[in-house]
């Protein structure tokens, strides 16, 4: 249960206090600020290596190669107006790779000589107006295929990440002096793209072909700066996207920016009949720590741009102004600023249903003055709603924020002279239902059930946290493959069927996983201080009396003998490919039997809302007509209801389950 201020607890236990349903909409999809890109330029140019950056004055610097040894640079001070057609010659007789970065007043442009091994740079300390003459940075061990640069600090410390035909390397500049390149020990069949940005380490995004398997792959990696990875040390390589060697699919042109989180673009080129070359966007959940594990970036979202060298990302991290996606022939821009709208004064009804693996409901807004015609930003499908339930208290209005909701549909209702905008809402499980895997994901033998579930939720834009998961969830490493097109919901269901744990949505687009235990302490008591309006207490058989797990040449079972003695008690069976001993198969059967016991329906109670109530809380109530002692049950579902008219309603139905 969410912790409540004492004044709110007191208020919700009084039948006479004024209810409060506070609703705010904001431009956030899952956990990510929504960026609505607007095209500023589409002037045709040769598509070759390119990059873009934004220094502190808000100007946009673009650099590009023409693929024939000529480099061009452009600085636009007022991007809303351009001009975009004017490029400055920046070098001739050079290599065909180029990149840039900015921080504060500095802009650096990195490129190679004609041989491809001599890495050169020119730098500006006046926002890209004037640049130094060309200077040597370092010499690569082989011709550079792609490179990327990121500043660490306004003083000029930075690093250039680059790939040669089959090696990944990075070279840092500290206090104005370039060091020697550090080559990763990781081996590759071939490499074609790299992007680097700096958060607390150097964060790398790499595309190429995996050694041995020859799978086309998009990886993440880290070069440590002493945060998540030790200083000047390479981190692990993690696969984020992968295609078979004979799939005719390849990845290239990664770009990355660390703004509110790691935002990344890359190109997927499909050479099979009917395939297309297209840029995709992906990101890491803002709560996810770096280094992100394999398959934790969100399922890629297609962008309507088909250039072979992708879209560079540029934004001034210190200024929540605009973010740019650029290519030689394209400039898109989106405001980064949060857009929020407080809807509380117009909320006339709300009904939210929280269930095991489902959230639904609606918020109705008074539209009697047509104030929601349009509707106004940020009220639109996909955006987040912050919904808080509370009362007027001795400390004023106090509320408790429920799990994040998102707008699933909009419905204007005009009847009897009334005008209402109904916002249909959904929760985290519904995001998982829509998240279908673009590729088959085979989990490694070291991934626990919790780790598998964390990645399933992460790809849907949700972050899984532990609220006390079972030892089994944390330690058993199943054979688990998620086929292409399977939804995150189905995959999570499959994994959870082997555990007694439950997952409930939470705030900041997160999900909390916990193991309900019979020994769980009561979180709240009804019927004494807190009024109890209705009780329907139900007792029924557990949903299974026996569970059988069939492993690999192993069998395990769990039996509830008391239930099994009752005629008709059902038996569940499970195929358990992860178990090869009787003991592990028995553990699977035991976990499933516990899971099914929790499914038993124990009735419901109707109360004035307990504003902090959450799914799977243990609650208690007393009713002498039912039992001489306190009755303790687990919350298996919550209905929240609020209406101003025709009859004022403010109540909560708690669906109960077994402890």
């Amino acid at each position: 249960m969410r912790t409540l201020p004492a004044a709110l607890t007191t208020a919700q236990q009084s039948a006479t206090n004024e209810p409060r349903v506070a609703v705010t909409a904001d431009n956030t999809i899952a956990a990510l600020r929504r960026l609505d890109f607007v095209q500023l330029d589409a002037t045709a140019q040769t598509i070759a290596k390119h990059d873009a950056c934004v220094p502190a004055d808000g100007s946009l610097t673009r650099v590009r190669s023409d693929g024939a040894g000529n480099l061009f640079q452009q600085r636009v001070t007022t991007p809303a107006a351009g001009p975009w057609g004017t490029w400055n010659a920046f070098g001739t007789g050079k290599g065909n790779v180029v990149a840039c970065a900015a921080i504060g007043t500095r802009v650096i442009v990195i490129y190679t000589d004609a041989a491809g091994t001599g890495v050169k740079f020119r730098e500006s300390t006046d926002y890209g107006v004037n640049f130094t003459a060309e200077a040597a940075a370092f010499t690569a061990g082989a011709a550079v295929v792609d490179l990327s640069v990121a500043y660490k600090a306004a003083g000029g410390d930075c690093a250039v990440a680059y790939v040669t035909a089959a090696a990944l390397a990075i070279c840092k500049r500290a206090a104005g002096t370039w060091g020697a390149p550090a080559v990763s020990a990781a081996t590759f069949n071939s490499l074609n793209g790299v992007a680097v940005c700096y958060s607390t380490d150097y964060n790398l995004f790499v595309t190429g072909v995996e050694v041995t398997t020859l799978r086309r792959t998009f990886w993440t990696n880290t070069y440590g700066d002493g945060a998540a990875v030790a200083l000047n040390t390479w981190g692990n390589l993690y696969t984020q996207q992968q295609a078979e060697s004979d799939s005719s699919v390849s990845y290239n042109a990664p770009f990355a920016a660390y703004i509110d989180t790691f935002r990344v673009t890359f190109v997927e080129a499909d050479a099979f009949t009917g395939g297309a070359t297209r840029t995709y966007r992906t990101n890491l959940h803002p709560l996810a720590p770096w280094p992100a594990l394999a398959n934790t970036y969100t399922s890629p979202v297609p962008v309507n741009y088909t250039g072979a060298e992708g879209l560079a990302l540029a934004a001034n991290a210190a200024d929540a102004d605009y973010m740019y996606e650029t290519a030689p022939d394209r400039v898109y821009r989106a405001a980064q600023s949060p857009v929020t709208a407080t809807l509380t004064a117009d909320v006339i009804a709300a009904e939210i249903r929280e269930r095991d693996r489902a959230t639904s409901g609606y918020i109705e807004l008074d539209n009697s003055a047509g104030q929601y015609a349009g509707p106004p930003s940020p009220i639109t499908i996909g955006n987040r709603l912050d919904v808080r339930w509370g009362y007027y208290t001795t400390s004023g209005y106090l509320t408790s924020k429920m799990a994040d909701l998102w707008i699933a549909a909009l419905e204007y209702r005009r009847t009897g002279g009334k005008s209402v905008l109904r916002l249909h809402v959904e929760g985290g499980w519904e995001l998982l239902r829509r998240n279908r895997q673009r590729m088959q994901i085979t989990h490694s033998a070291t991934d626990s059930y919790y780790s598998v579930l964390l990645r399933i939720t992460s790809r849907a834009g949700l972050w899984l946290t532990s609220g006390g998961v079972s030892t089994r969830a944390d330690t058993v490493t199943p054979k688990f493959t998620i086929p292409a097109q399977m939804s995150g919901y189905e995959a999570a269901q499959q994994a959870l069927s082997f555990l007694a744990d439950r997952i409930r949505p939470a705030t900041i687009a997160s999900m909390k996983m916990l193991e309900p235990l019979t020994s769980d302490a009561t979180t709240y008591t009804f019927g004494v201080a807190h009024p109890l309006r209705t009780v329907q207490l139900r007792s029924e058989q557990p949903r299974a009396a026996e569970t059988h797990a069939f492993g690999v040449a192993a069998f395990g079972e769990a039996i509830d003998y008391a239930t099994a003695a009752v005629a008709g008690a059902p038996r569940d069976y499970m195929r358990d490919a992860s178990s090869s001993t009787g003991a592990t198969a028995t553990a699977t059967a035991t976990a499933h039997l516990r899971r099914r016991a929790l499914d038993a329906d124990a009735g419901l109670i109707i109360v004035p809302p307990n504003c902090g109530q959450e799914l799977y809380d243990a609650v208690e109530f007393s009713d002498g007509y039912i039992s001489g002692s306190a009755i303790k049950r687990r919350v298996s579902g919550i209905d929240w209801r609020y209406a101003r008219r025709p009859v004022a309603v403010f109540e909560q139905t708690l669906y109960l389950g077994a402890m």
Binding site: E244, Q485, E490, Y573, A577
Partner: protein, 78 residues
């Protein structure tokens, strides 16, 4: 409805990518998967080896969607 036990088997349409006649295993691209294949799926022994030509359609019975080793190619056509 809460989950009960092992989900029912599913049938999936696939494209045969690689045939390993010695072990009677096959790599199969499930329709809907553009980038990754199921590797080394057992093939019903009543299917003649000569019929297993790359590019043909196959029917894959998946006893457990999350464990490709628990699947079998049970028909081939076209």
């Amino acid at each position: 409805m809460p989950d009960t036990s092992t989900p029912p088997a599913t049938m999936r349409h696939g494209i045969l990518k690689v045939w390993y006649s010695g072990t009677y295993l096959a790599d199969v691209q499930l329709v809907g998967s553009l980038t990754t294949w199921l590797k080394s799926i057992p093939v019903a022994r009543d299917i003649a080896s000569a019929e297993m030509t790359a590019g043909r359609s196959v029917l894959v019975a998946m006893l457990d969607d999350t464990n490709p080793a628990d699947a079998a190619v049970i028909a081939v056509w076209v």
